[in-house]
Symmetry: C2
Subunit: 290 residues, 2 copies
């Protein structure tokens, strides 16, 4: 008998209600509904949590519907800055990049940093130099989806992410973002920060966050969610809800996806919507936007 | 009757035993012994935790004995990269900079980001642009202390930091570093990361870490120490000891300074030494290197 597998992904929390009637929600929903089954099947077939986390985040980066990878938005200096991070629970290995401009798939670079270097976090132009030298696929400004008028009027705080539990009990969290539209150049949010936007502890759980990054940094959101599970034995739904409430009390907004070592999933958000999809340990499928 | 005040500072954990007989330990000890009393007196006179934290970290940056500010070491591309962060417990406001090259006192820039901007973390050249535009004192390569032969043979992982409790019950944590000697250019450790190198929660406590930053990132050290105090009611000595043990089990090394809301102080380290000084709520003074 196999141990349970589970996966949850998100495409960002934000004021998604503004997209009603534009077709954007339906488009994203269809994409998530189709792919979550695919990624779940990979897990059932024995593919590792690390591979499925990277596969799903890469797809979310490539589709251009979300504010990560191809869908990233230029900052107030007119260029895109990308951030990503990944963490493996069993040995708490982690890798991340922040404020880079060139990689097509930031999550692949985060994984490379985790697996092939002594560092955890690499930033800015020196990280771009590494990206070129190591032969990662790179893109220029023409690759990114142009900002639409709706997005320009109401800056999104989108991010993408995945939390995955595989058949061996391995737990992985991954997050990637292109930042907030017209964000201040050089600003880094929670997405590439281990402990804030991304955290995983073997035998316990994994978290990937989305929202106004400053509040997730100040609450050390991802690690403090798992601290509640670890130290109080709180249910993952209670722990995520508690920290999200703390964020809202500080004036922030957003959401997160989380799973525990049994494959239970929680996906709370305080915004009008969060692109999300999951298959939990009971094979129950959830897909939603609002 | 006044509420208790307390302060602890560190000048980095590392293999300080190698400095025996060189006079360096005595020099640092004298500096710490003289200044800790000065900073404690400021607190007794009603100066805020924020001002005393910045004053003490600025002095530790300026003296050139520690791997922060003037004492920072060039990375493997031959230039210095500076990181700093600060957090105030009462409202969990935070500010940080990473991988910047120009400020004389990185901690002042972190405070500016906390108090005057909507961001928490700013990095690299765009942050340097902000530093120049806002009129902060800047320095060039000639400012930094040349690496000595001892340091070159045994790279130090020094950082400086302060945790402060003032008469109003305000709690502040602050950390600043010039990185590890010959570190990889673009690498960022835990010092500028809220939740890893620096964390503070009002009414609870504050932590500033030093050591091999990657392990402090992976353990989300500062926030998980305070999570133990918050959720388990653990004594600050137990909580710091538990997370330091976790770091050592992962293969890391370092130390931290921490205080709780009553002004109790803990300063554990796993290396052969940590530059440290403190005055706790009972006015008991501690100064040490090994």
């Amino acid at each position: 008998m196999h141990r349970p597998v589970a996966i949850a992904v998100h495409g960002g929390a934000g004021n998604l209600a503004r997209y009603k009637g534009t077709g954007r929600l339906e488009e994203a929903y269809a994409f998530l509904e189709q792919h979550i089954t695919l990624w779940h099947t990979m897990l059932c077939d024995g593919v590792s949590a690390l591979d499925v986390a990277c596969e799903s985040v890469r797809a979310l980066e490539d589709i251009g519907y979300f504010h990560a990878g191809k869908g990233s938005s230029p900052n107030d200096n007119g260029y895109v800055e990308l951030d990503a991070s990944i963490m493996r629970g069993s040995d708490r290995a982690a890798g991340a990049i922040a404020a880079v401009r060139t990689p097509k798939n930031p999550i692949d670079v985060a994984r490379y940093i985790m697996e092939q270097t002594q560092q955890v976090l690499m930033v800015a132009s020196e990280a771009d130099t590494l990206i070129t030298r190591e032969g990662f696929a790179t893109v220029d400004a023409s690759y990114f989806v142009p900002c639409d008028e709706v997005g320009a009027a109401l800056p999104s705080t989108g991010t993408v992410g995945a939390v995955v539990l595989d058949r061996d009990g391995e737990i992985v969290a991954a997050t990637s973002t292109g930042g907030t539209l017209r964000k201040r150049a050089g600003r880094v949010g929670d997405a590439p920060i281990i402990g804030a936007g991304t955290y995983a502890i073997g035998g316990l759980g994994a978290v990937s966050c989305t929202g106004v990054g400053e509040y997730f940094l100040r609450t050390s959101a991802a690690s403090r969610i798992l601290a509640r599970v670890e130290l109080l034995g709180e249910h993952i739904s209670t722990a995520t809800g508690t920290i999200l409430t703390e964020i809202v009390h500080l004036g922030g907004d957003g959401g997160m996806i989380a799973l525990d070592h049994r494959g239970t999933i929680a996906m709370p958000f305080s915004t009008s919507g969060m692109y999300r999809a999951a298959v939990d340990a009971t094979s129950s499928v959830t897909v939603g936007c609002l």
